[in-house]
């Protein structure tokens, strides 16, 4: 075993330098040069201010904004503490939460079947997307809150539906942050009027 120690320790140190220091640091340089926006987290700026990352979901509480899915990351969309609920299919707590959130959506005027992603939490708690059905179900509420035609809001949603990549992979989706930025541009909310943060299924407490 002793004869094996020298190669074991030497190669361990050498590979630590190669794969643990040189590889990530050199790749950081290359990645930042080739794909600077993505390498730095796909940040989105509006009027020179970083308003989030295209890839990281955030909670929207206001009546006039499209809402993200319920989140279990920290106190909801904590992008420094990703988490799912990890509640199982027979969890009473989950069944209760689904009922409460569904009732809140009914209260907000959602009719018909509730889109699955509107009341379930994502795995990461940071899902940046909602399903097209979920977005369309929110159109009436948003048009009301912003005092604009439903058609305008609906057209915005349609324009923001991202189809399956290559027509096959994953599911169609709508990026909530991108949609809300477009919404602010197309139908600005009255200035000085704070967004009323009513009880909404935007967050769930972590478990």
């Amino acid at each position: 075993m002793l004869a094996q120690l020298r190669p074991a320790v030497t190669l361990l140190i050498a590979f630590t330098l190669l794969t643990g220091i040189a590889y990530p640091l050199a790749m950081t340089e290359v990645a930042q040069a080739l794909f600077p926006a993505q390498a730095r987290g796909s940040l989105v700026e509006k009027d020179g201010v970083v308003v989030g990352s295209r890839l990281i979901g955030q909670g929207f509480a206001g009546e006039g904004y499209f809402r993200s899915r319920p989140s279990a990351a920290g106190n909801g969309y904590d992008a420094a503490a990703s988490s799912g609920t990890n509640l199982g299919p027979t969890s009473a707590k989950l069944a209760e939460r689904l009922k409460t959130d569904a009732a809140a959506l009914r209260g907000a005027g959602v009719e018909g079947q509730i889109p699955a992603d509107a009341v379930t939490t994502s795995g990461s708690g940071l899902d940046p997307d909602i399903s097209p059905a979920n977005a369309l179900a929110q159109v009436a509420r948003i048009a009301r809150a912003r005092g604009v035609e439903e058609a305008l809001v609906r057209d915005l949603v349609t324009a923001h539906i991202e189809k399956r990549p290559l027509g096959v992979f994953g599911d169609p989706r709508v990026n909530v942050l991108a949609l809300n930025i477009a919404l602010d541009a197309a139908a600005p909310q009255a200035p000085g009027r704070p967004a009323p943060g009513e009880a909404a299924p935007a967050t769930v407490s972590g478990s």
Partner: protein
Amino acid sequence: MTVLGWLQIAIVLALVVVAAVPLGGYMARVYAGERTLLSTVFGPVERGLYRLAGVDPAREQGALAYTLGMLAFNAAGLVLLYAILRLQGFLPFNPLGFAGVSPDLAFNTAVSFVSNTNWQSYGGETTMSLFSQMAGLTVQNFLSAATGLALAVALVRAFARSNASTVGNFFVDMTRSTLYVLLPLAVITALVQVWMGVPQTLDATAAATTLEGAQQTIAMGPVATQMAIKQLGTNGGGFFNVNAAHPFENPTALSNALEIWQMLVVSTALVFAFGRLIGDRRQARALIATIAVILVAGIAVAYWAEAAGTPSLLAAGVDPAGGNMEGKEVRFGLAASSLFAAVTTGLSDGGVNAMHGSFTPLGGLAPMFLMQLGEILPGGVGSGLYGLLVMSIIAVFVAGLMVGRTPEYLGKKIEVAEVKMAILAVLILPTAILGFSAVAAVLPTALSGLGNAGPHGLSEILYAYSSAAGNNGSAFGGLSANSPWWNTTLGLAMLLGRFAYIVPMMAIAGSLASKTRLTASTGTFPTHGLLFVGLLVGVILILGGLQFFPALALGPIAEQVQMLAGKTF
């Protein structure tokens, strides 16, 4: 289930095979010591490393010396990683000022990454400094995978050689695995992942002010370089708490397809390399067929169960066509989440893109059962192939018993020594999983970590030990595993599952290498036909299924029945 969903699954699996055939040919040349395209680049580095380490690449080792070299290398890796984690507070690249990791968590994590398990009792973005992530965890992502590849190649050589006393040189095989296979693939795919949106930066966070004026702190870091090798080396340890469900680890449905491809490609290629190294590619095709049958069945069960949804969702008025979206991301949907779950456990990856603990009972049973089969479908890089070969030895032994003649596999007589060692190896898994689970199920310290009541709680325990002993690393995340009991026992289960399996496996290699390789006669049971595939599938399922069935009946199966009866806990 939709046609589009199945089309997506078929495309990803087909792309794996298309790439694995040429990659397998390349790997066979690498392990035969031949020159390859990359020799110009890495040849000087390789020779320099050998000189520095005092390794003579022409001097081979017997099975015992090979195993001891591997153990010395892994023991050194364990000590170094433990030290880095404990001392991270004093080390550089720690912008968030994380303190050293507690002793039980550092032990668990060091064992976890050295044994290619990558079970994580912690959340990456809230615990680990960038230095720990890079110089600690990323390094073992490479080296544990290279160790697995080296061991598998040694066993293949034992079959391929006749009357040999050596099986190769561990340090050479490990070095070549890292330099010629893992590192080039990691460099290329990491860049593709950055292009798709995975961050690669030395900043630990970015600050944002949301449209509603709230402050958001966004954790990031050198994610792509760790992601790439985490998937290629079937490690599975995420940069972030939620692993590949995190949009920064897995930003789009395309990156998801790439990550599934990355998980599968090296292990699948190794099976094809095995066919070339033993000079009979039909043998590799038989193993691939075996893998495909069970893996696709696992995918189908998970996909069907998740698409069926749960009574709780229906009671709330949720669209039944939406399936069970709790714990899943919109950009992946049901098909890609189910595919990822089955592949990550048929392999020993353990990365997840959805929360397995929130799967329906049968949807969660599929990944759990795939782990209990020994993660040989096609399994972890290296560990999958040697696991499959051990199962094949048992399969020909069973066939030999039926017809009453000495079994042969790949021209080597399978005798008492090999069968004893093979049985010893496959007993490790049930002993570790069922043994630890039985104790945990009655111990209040252990039970206090459970996040769900009823049969799902038992499933959390079973899943955790299956994941640890199988060196998988995925979890039913409701379990709060960062406590001395769970960290210690899961660490022990990981050590047993990795090294207590390797030692008898290498004993088989030593014994086989010294035997004469016989040419097949009319009396030889052919191991490349459909009959053998059927036999091997049967042995894997019966050996795996029967010993775990009672425990599964009390966990996921009981939960399914109670769920359908409308019961919650």
